[in-house]
């Protein structure tokens, strides 16, 4: 298989110079996800702000152990969702998920996905899809937990 269709320049850039890496305070939820087949791991924190009607992803920070695809993917994802209203971020997540499941058949929406369109080629490498999704899945999970925590009164030190 053609390597360049997988390792796009943008991906290699994010891999070599990841954005927003390193765990930061404050945060509302932290998750740890593992890819059992290969042992790749991500720890990811999310801070959700905004009014009750519309949440905003205020911060995403993370630590990873993984391949170029998984590292670049989480970096691109953080760029994309940070500062976005929750519904837009979720839309990007959905779009990315569809892209990954498309077996190379979907023309990605650059307006929604920005740099993440570079991952279109990954969908042709079934074994690597999980790598690209690892960070996104962690973000989805962490955000769901953060929102759930907002429903219940904040009492732990995370909010200090």
């Amino acid at each position: 298989m053609n390597l360049d269709s997988l390792y796009e320049e943008i991906i290699l850039d994010h891999y070599r110079h990841p954005h927003h890496k390193g765990l930061r305070d404050p945060f509302d939820a932290e998750v740890h996800h593992v890819n059992p087949t290969c042992g790749d791991e991500v720890t990811l924190r999310v801070r959700v702000g905004g009014s009750n009607g519309q949440g905003v992803i205020e911060d995403v920070s993370y630590d990873t152990l993984g391949c170029a695809i998984s590292q670049a993917s989480v970096s691109v994802m953080a760029d994309l969702v940070m500062g976005k209203p929750l519904d837009e971020a979720t839309k990007a997540y959905d779009e990315f998920l569809s892209l990954m499941q498309s077996k190379g058949q979907l023309e990605p929406d650059e307006g929604v996905l920005e740099d993440a369109v570079a991952f279109a080629g990954v969908s042709k490498f079934p074994a690597r899809i999980k790598c690209a999704l690892l960070g996104w899945m962690a973000w989805k999970d962490a955000t769901a937990r953060a929102l759930a925590a907002r429903e219940t009164p904040r009492t732990n030190e995370e909010t200090a």
């Binding site: 053609n2 390597l3 390792y7 290969c38 042992g39 790749d40 993984g66 695809i69 690597r128 790598c131």
Partner: protein, 420 residues
């Protein structure tokens, strides 16, 4: 660099149809993932097709022509496998679905057994840090269920068992010692006889995970010092869907069954049942008939080549690969760095490049290796890595394929900008 093997690899390769595959760009397939699963010779593929096309019937139960033919083929395969591993009796060869089931079978029946072998609170089970998950998780599960304690021998920096702890870890509380013969992750060949001697001193049973050794080396179960030996068909030129548990007959005969069902019984009444003698006691339901026939054809094939010749070839190609790997900057071997007391799986780390990315670049050049923890996460952790890239060889591996791996590793370093 010189390479010399007693085996005519080019002739052997002609028996394996898949080795004729080429990549879309026309470059040849270089299959270096045999520790994961081996390729199959024409002889095995044809034996299976011939079984289904000419002799297929259920075994033992059927007394018609096809039933007799299939029973003879199936039980004949048991004879072949017993001879292949030097089993004192064919009744000691139990067919399972893979190595993992064989190991789970032993763990569970020991949990259910009466004394002296049954696992009870306070008893200890000893494994090693370099086990495959299939020889870790079953013991975690049964020790948890029975209240026994799981302990393990650790591994040194060269990937060898630390035997200085042998006498303390294996002690009078030890009921079972289960260890791998040849590690799939490190390649290490363990001194099973020595560990077994200590285990038997304290009255413990010895289980050997021979999933990697039976395919690679002449293994004689009567000399290994083991009470049980597990291995798997698909790694030794045989089909998927079949494994083997060898066990000492007297021991098998004293143990309760594992799965219940057809063929493992003596008399079934609604209120209770009695069980058949080994090996059938441990073979519930329709066995892997075609797979046994295929595995029989595989051991015929390996025996015709000669397991000493297979081992010598494996040794030669491993030595050659280790020497050539030493040429590549930034590549570190995880496990024994020489071919002594070693099988043919080499785990390596390319500094600065994740194993997934290593294997992806290699795959783009047709070189098939495995990246990950190789179902042996604890030993990867022991070496401070989440994963490695593993190249592994078999009787059909040619030295030019090792050269292709080396060229590929140079390309990996160039592609990810870590070459000096």
């Amino acid at each position: 660099m010189t390479f010399s093997s007693p085996l005519d690899v080019e002739r052997i390769r002609k028996d394996f149809p898949v080795l004729e595959r080429v990549l879309p760009d026309g470059s040849p397939l270089v299959y270096l993932d045999s520790a994961n699963t081996s390729q199959k010779p024409r002889q095995v593929i044809e034996a299976i097709a011939d079984y289904y096309g000419q002799h297929n019937a259920n075994v033992a139960r059927a007394m018609h022509m096809l039933g007799q033919e299939s029973t003879e083929l199936f039980e004949g395969a048991r004879d072949k496998i017993a001879a292949f591993i030097g089993a004192p009796s064919r009744e000691e060869v139990v067919f399972t679905k893979n190595s993992s089931e064989a190991l789970n079978l032993v763990a569970n029946v020991l949990a259910w057994a009466d004394q002296p072998h049954g696992l009870r609170p306070g008893d200890e089970v000893v494994i090693t840090e370099m086990e495959h998950h299939s020889n870790i998780v079953p013991w975690q599960m049964v020790t948890q269920r029975t209240g026994a304690t799981l302990r393990w021998l650790t591994v040194d920096d060269e990937g060898r068992l630390d035997l200085s702890q042998l006498d303390s870890i294996i002690n009078e509380r030890t009921k079972v010692v289960s260890l791998v013969h040849v590690s799939n992750a490190l390649g290490t060949l363990n001194p099973v006889e020595l560990v077994a001697e200590r285990a038997h001193q304290v009255g413990a049973l010895v289980v050997v995970d021979a999933s990697q050794s039976v395919p690679q080396l002449p293994v004689d179960v009567s000399r290994l010092g083991a009470d049980f030996v597990a291995f798997t068909g698909h790694k030794m030129c045989g089909p998927t869907g079949i494994g083997v548990l060898w066990g000492r007959y007297d021991l098998l005969a004293s143990l309760p069954p594992f799965l219940g069902g057809g063929e493992m019984i003596e008399v079934v009444e609604m209120t209770g049942s009695t069980y058949a003698a080994p090996p059938h006691r441990f073979e519930a339901g329709t066995p892997p008939i075609a797979q046994a026939v295929g595995l029989g054809a595989a051991v015929d094939y390996l025996s015709a080549v000669g397991m000493d010749v297979v081992a010598a070839h494996e040794h030669a190609i491993t030595a050659y690969a280790l020497e050539r790997l030493a040429e590549v900057d930034g590549v570190r071997v995880v496990g024994p760095s020489t071919a002594q007391q070693r099988g043919g799986a080499i785990s390596l780390v390319v500094e600065g490049v994740h194993p997934h990315d290593v294997s992806q670049v290699l795959d783009s050049r047709g070189v098939a290796v495995r990246a990950g923890h190789h179902c042996a996460r604890p030993v990867c952790q022991r070496f401070g890595v989440a994963a490695t890239t593993r190249a592994s060889f078999y009787l059909y591996t040619a030295p030019q394929e090792v050269d292709a791996l080396i060229d590929g590793l140079h390309e990996v370093r160039r592609f990810f900008g870590v070459a000096s």
